[in-house]
Symmetry: D2
Subunit: 310 residues, 4 copies
């Protein structure tokens, strides 16, 4: 349970405003903290690979309706003859934000009353034809960097994070210390909270709002994780549980504020249980992480199949 | 111009039947030549990375209608308020096979009169709910291997491959020899044919059939490339131009036959011009290639943003 | 409550087999009981119009996710400039079968172990490109006929049909007698069961299976309504509640069996409360009913906005 | 050929501004000229029905790509077992504006620099969630009125309207006179221009812009038809050919300006050849016309299957 005082409302406001990265890479920058992933950083990440084991961090493409999937992805197929043979082809359609699909959030995805990333105005930048600033194609050469697992259940000795005990920034620091990990600018952190175990233990409680609207409550990462991301110059946050709700502060977004305030790439709904297992088996907490978003001009993010290479 | 005799119809039949890999990795194998990409192969590929330069091999998500894009991809966006802030979210939909989208073909994508990969019957395996054999999720840990560029225009000293002069298997051998490249089992080859330059030189000639149906003619790789793929145990073929048409033989599929006959992963409509340029600038023909298909159960392939790391 | 014995399993089997209309309009007929709507029948229906009041029998296009709407319809919009003006255009997408959308079922929509309408084999007739028999375009000149309201709540003096007390065929006969209505071949009946009132009284019980699968229970029309449809040569059944579930007999479909057995057009999820109100206000039980399905070659039905004209 | 002088630019401006119907049915009216279709008008239309012949005015749901269909409609199907039987269900998706699909334009569909219908501002009224003014659900009780065919090819003794000889308002007057037709407020006119015959005679010239962009030229109705619509208080214009292009005047919209200026419902791409034939066979120019748009809240129109009853 949290043994430290919660941040004050003023402190939380300060996370989002005083510490934001606006202008840090120029006033027109659309790459954000991903700028910290330099070619040298990518090369160093590649050199982490030893056994060549590959782990997918992606959930299945969410075709089935369910309490966590109000807008099921579409998969339609057809076959056609070709000479004496033939072929099968299919259509994939997905409204990928939400809690069902493993996906990347682009810098244009969220904003608060002060604006989008780098201070842009969403009323101007989000058009019927797509986003004109901070869209996902600015990351089309991929997010390739060192990935570091922060395994909260393992640290706690519990199967999963609970509603009562959100993940705090100080707990992430504790995990770093306990695991003797030093984060470096441009790293991707994979914060594993045991979402599958939590869902199995709460079969009747969806992780998201099943039909939109209404109050929302769910376990996850507390807004106190924001300074952690900023202090360590994290470039990418991959997580299975998302923001703890209710937020508890009068702000539009908690950890999702890292998008517009710091320029951090969020990989929502990552499947981290197999990664956590692989880390134990490989005896390592770090790996080469690769996220290759679809190159969608004006897109607010992308479904993705992130890979961890050991 | 081709200075060697074309293969006889019997030889072409032999490529597809006598040399096929059915059963090579077991009768129920759904991974195909991608089995040749072992963990050690992946690790070796990672160790090729030196400068950390990353090149995307993906064309833009093909939203605009056009002569090469009879079924434009869908990109729809909306915004919603959230407290004093808000968010933007979008829908992506794509019927990705064809000539517009950079995508991976799964082993279930094509077949001839003898069946799908490993001899399966498409009438049984392709269902309304997706493919039950050889579908793309069997590659969900990604295709991560050594990539090798075979730059045909550079070899020829011409801007692009032409309709009159298709790429033959022996020409690929010539390129290997000229560039002193030795292929190894499990490699991915990126055969660059200069599709952008060709299209720019033929602005009124679409590369595919603009509205379906009718005869089709286009420059590309000749069926004589099949034994090249088989001899070298190529795991992945990334190409910008596809099969030369007309095929010239009474077969359903030419190079696309490598899918069902050899279990090779095809990455259609790769954007290879930037890769070719990077290879010249980096002074290298090899790199780490990463293709991470969406994890779609039953899918016949996936749109993808492949990355080459130098 | 039902005061008459339920039909035996043998009787129910007999409804579907002994009384089926296969061959009645020829072995290749794809129009079914809609053949009973002759031009003269349409003209007579038009002459029923007196005040010209028009009532829509359509629910809203179901865009919002919800317990009754596992696959929300898609509505995406964009604007574009045109000279000094512009325009707005939108995309509609709908997987319309289910309990959310007012839609027509074509003759190819359902089958049992004996086959589709007229004895056709669904494995042959339902292809990846659409249905090749009994598809909706065979009704493209519309269903225009006399509509007759059968208002079950009004008859019962209850706000809605209940799970305990399904609508039986004999109750529909009682309503005809009480209201002094004589049905004629080719009529459309609109069986109002008070679905809105039922849903309001059971806010936490969805009418359909919210996420697919599992057992299903819902109030509606009992399989004993089948002989009613057949005896009166009903051409169209418009209903707000659908088949009572569980069926209670070992058959694939209850009232939905009227599609393949009798060739009846079903208009599922009609919005009948406004129609019921209009009938009271107009002092009539009959009206001109118009259903104009989209002309989709190979389609299994169509979303529709049916109109009742008084 | 046009034997009368073309309207001056000032006259055309006057059609759109001086004669517009803004405020005629109140400042907040969202029904437009469809207000002229009173219940009595509907009843009178029904009483026109004599033989009961029904004619669909809909083209096929445009699934196939083609020069006139840059965004093909989607039709995807699946089957599922149910007990010993089963069912087939399908998805329909359509971006219906354009020249391929028979569809209705709602009052929010077009605007010029003076605004949308009733002077509303499209920047305010067209939102990511749909239109908030003049959307199609305001016509959900259907457009049911007297339909009158104006058969231009028959009048001209030519198979189709040509690029050189657009349909002018005075020609429509001539047709009324020649056929001794008197239009009444609230009528729907069906202006048949012989689009099928034109397309057959010009197989390589698409009627619309096949891949968007660029200049556009096509035969159709001249802007001089605007005062005809206004003078006769036409409520609905159904047409197979659309606005003659180029417009020839510096305005955003020609006949499509009737939407925002007069509040007229346009039924674009109606299939009128069968209707023209039926009129000849029935010896009549008038009929009951029924258009039942899907009830899509916020929609800019609707695909439709309009019916003409004789």
């Amino acid at each position: 349970m949290p043994d430290r005082p919660l941040p004050t409302p003023e402190e939380v406001q300060s996370y989002l405003r005083d510490r934001r990265n606006w202008g840090r890479w120029g006033p027109d920058d659309q790459v954000g903290a991903v700028n910290l992933i330099t070619p040298a950083k990518r090369a160093a990440a590649a050199h982490l690979v030893k056994t060549g084991r590959s782990v997918s961090l992606s959930r299945d493409f969410p075709k089935e309706p369910g309490p966590n999937n109000a807008f099921p992805a579409q998969h339609w197929i057809r076959t056609a003859p070709r000479g004496r043979g033939g072929f099968a082809a299919d259509y994939y359609g997905i409204f990928y934000h939400g809690v069902a699909s493993t996906h990347l959030d682009a810098l244009c995805h969220t904003w608060d009353e002060h604006g989008m990333w780098n201070g842009r105005d969403p009323r101007r930048e989000i058009t019927f034809d797509g986003a004109t600033f901070g869209s996902v194609e600015h990351w089309s050469t991929g997010l390739v960097t060192r990935g570091v697992l922060l395994d909260v259940p393992r640290h706690r000795g519990e199967p999963h994070v609970t509603q009562e005990w959100p993940v705090h920034g100080w707990e992430l620091e504790d995990i770093l210390a306990a695991r003797r990990i030093t984060l470096e600018p441009g790293d991707a952190i994979c914060v594993y909270s045991g979402r599958e175990a939590w869902q199995a233990a709460h079969p009747d409680t969806p992780y998201g709002r099943p039909f939109g609207g209404g109050p929302s409550v769910r376990p996850g990462l507390h807004v106190s994780c924001l300074p952690f991301l900023r202090d360590h110059d994290v470039a990418v946050l991959a997580w299975d549980m998302l923001d703890h709700l209710p937020i508890g502060y009068d702000i539009a977004w908690a950890v999702h504020g890292a998008i517009f305030a710091y320029g951090v790439a969020l990989l929502d709904n990552a499947l981290l249980e197999p990664l956590a297992r692989a880390c134990v088996e490989e005896g390592r907490d770090e790996f080469m992480l690769i996220i290759a978003p679809l190159k969608v001009p004006g897109g607010t993010g992308s479904p993705a199949n992130p890979l961890a290479l050991f």
